[in-house]
Symmetry: C2
Subunit: 110 residues, 2 copies
């Protein structure tokens, strides 16, 4: 993540962390998991999620396995080897970003 980006791109590390934790997930599952984990605070919209998953796949961070569930197709995403490396970096960066924001927004806790 570009450090000068004050805000954008939090969705990407969130998804990378989840996949790092769960091994593999499909899109809809991710939306539900985030909704669950955040007690409905964060609702990932599909319009944000699916294009992002496609971008991460195209850039070699994620790989996809199709699975047939009844007559329905489910697309399971997981981190590639390269994706795992980049996840470590991304998580370190977003953690630094959150720490920075935290001290700015609540300097008493600094």
């Amino acid at each position: 993540m570009n450090k000068s980006n004050l805000y954008k791109g939090c969705l990407e590390p969130i998804i990378m962390q989840l996949l790092s934790d769960k091994g593999r997930m499909y899109g809809y599952e991710i939306t539900q998991k985030v909704k669950d984990l955040t007690k409905n605070e964060l609702q990932i919209t599909e319009g944000a999620l699916y294009p992002l998953l496609h971008r991460l796949e195209a850039s070699g961070i994620l790989e996809v396995e199709m699975e047939n569930i009844g007559n329905r197709v489910r697309k399971y995403y997981s981190l590639t080897k390269s994706g795992k490396k980049q996840t470590k970096i991304a998580l370190t960066e977003i953690q630094a970003f959150l720490d920075t924001l935290q001290t700015l927004v609540n300097p008493k806790l600094a």
Copy 2:
């Protein structure tokens, strides 16, 4: 801040917090202060800052005092009464947002 906004609008509460803390500041001073406080991690661009200050002024959150420093004009911004109320709300919201992100990105610390 819209809770479903995964990212946007962190600059706004940062500025509100700073003004809440310092009483009054001018634009350039804000950029330098943030740069300082974050050890060069966050560089607020003027293209983001000035339009935001103008928006906050237009919406009655900030008020402005012009001051002549030599031949130069400095615009000091401070929170209005209404702005102070909204700052409390904004800071509570961004804190919740940061906590949420924190647990997602590092569930071990949850």
